[in-house]
Amino acid sequence: MTPQRAETLEWLVQRASAAVLALCVIVHLTVIVLAVQGGVTAKEIAGRVGGSVPWLAFYSVFVIAVALHAPAGLRNILREYTSLGRRATHWIMAAVCVLILGLGFRAVVGLYGLGA
């Protein structure tokens, strides 16, 4: 794959993941507003998402979209505000992507496991 094609497809992925995130954030915030009526407890959260396959799927999509979107934006910021080379920013982007996937799925799987 040429660098030009890779760069363009990365840009497309960043835009597409932003569209997915917009929907995910709306669902996430709506649930928070509806759920937090007079306080929220860990038990209540566990009762809702624990063992729930639909919520597991939703938050998996959420984490994947964040893991694709945020590192690409971070790389652009590093390119514009630092003198780091393209190779360095590429590896930083990859590392942040792996970090978000790791932490995100640890939380998602952990919450799902509460219902087991």
């Binding site: 040429t2 660098p3 030009q4 094609r5 760069e7 363009t8 840009w11 497309l12 652009n76 505000y81």
Partner: protein, 239 residues
């Protein structure tokens, strides 16, 4: 300040330098270029600046006026010096040669890098190409074709300031007019040239180019068109 004179601060030097203050007589319908010319001819012949046509055609006389890049020959003092003072600097994002004159080499090199030139496909034996004015691609090209290469958009662009290898609004706008030229034979090479590092995807759509273009062109819209064109080409594996 009195009503019949204007306090003018003009940048003197290169990257390092200082403002020098002049008092210039006010005149009816006076342009910023008139002011600079008055200073050079009557107050300090050592002042360096660039101009040619004086009527908004050549794109030579752009400078930063009270913080914003403008074509000085068509910028009336009345419209930009509301408080009776004028601060004139060289264009931003380009190396200063001296005083108000900048080195445009990098600006034009980026036009070359963007493959922003027509690649003919017809021969002497071919008849003239017939392009309908109503053709959607012709309309896209027409919308951006009147660029005078003044550098105002390049100077106004935040992304150019942040990302040294960014091609900039003018070169990309020109590339978009050619992407829409059905007679052109350089499409694949051009899309490849504007898709990679420092290409159209780097644009943040701040629209300073659109806001300040003296010809009222919209390079941001042209760049958005290039983003769509490069995505299509990337999905098809053409770049």
């Amino acid at each position: 300040m009195s009503n019949d004179t204007l306090t003018v601060e003009i940048w003197r030097g290169r990257e390092e330098g200082e403002f020098q203050t002049f008092q210039v007589p006010r005149m009816a319908s006076q342009t910023v270029l008139d002011i600079v010319t008055y200073v050079q001819r009557n107050l300090d012949p050592g002042l360096s600046y660039r101009f040619a046509c004086r009527v908004g055609v050549c794109g030579s006389c752009a400078m930063t006026v009270n913080g914003k890049p403008r074509w000085t020959c068509r910028t009336h003092v009345d419209k930009v010096a509301g408080d009776g003072t004028l601060r004139i600097q060289p264009l931003k994002n380009l190396p200063v040669i001296r005083d108000l004159a900048v080195d445009m080499t990098e600006f034009f090199q980026k036009w070359t890098r963007a493959q922003a030139h027509f690649v003919p496909t017809a021969t002497r034996g071919d008849d003239f190409a017939q392009v309908s004015p109503d053709d959607p691609r012709r309309k896209e090209a027409s919308a951006g074709i009147e660029c005078i290469n003044c550098g105002v958009c390049y100077s106004a662009c935040d992304t150019v300031a942040w990302l040294g290898d960014y091609l900039g609004p003018a070169a990309l706008n020109r590339a978009w007019t050619l992407v829409n030229d059905e007679r052109d034979g350089g499409q694949a090479a051009r899309l490849k040239a504007i898709a990679g590092a420092g290409g159209c995807q780097s644009c943040h759509s701040h629209q300073s180019c659109f806001e300040l273009c003296p010809k009222h062109l919209n390079p941001t819209a042209a760049i958005a068109g290039l983003k769509r064109a490069t995505v299509k080409a990337a999905l098809k594996g053409e770049i």
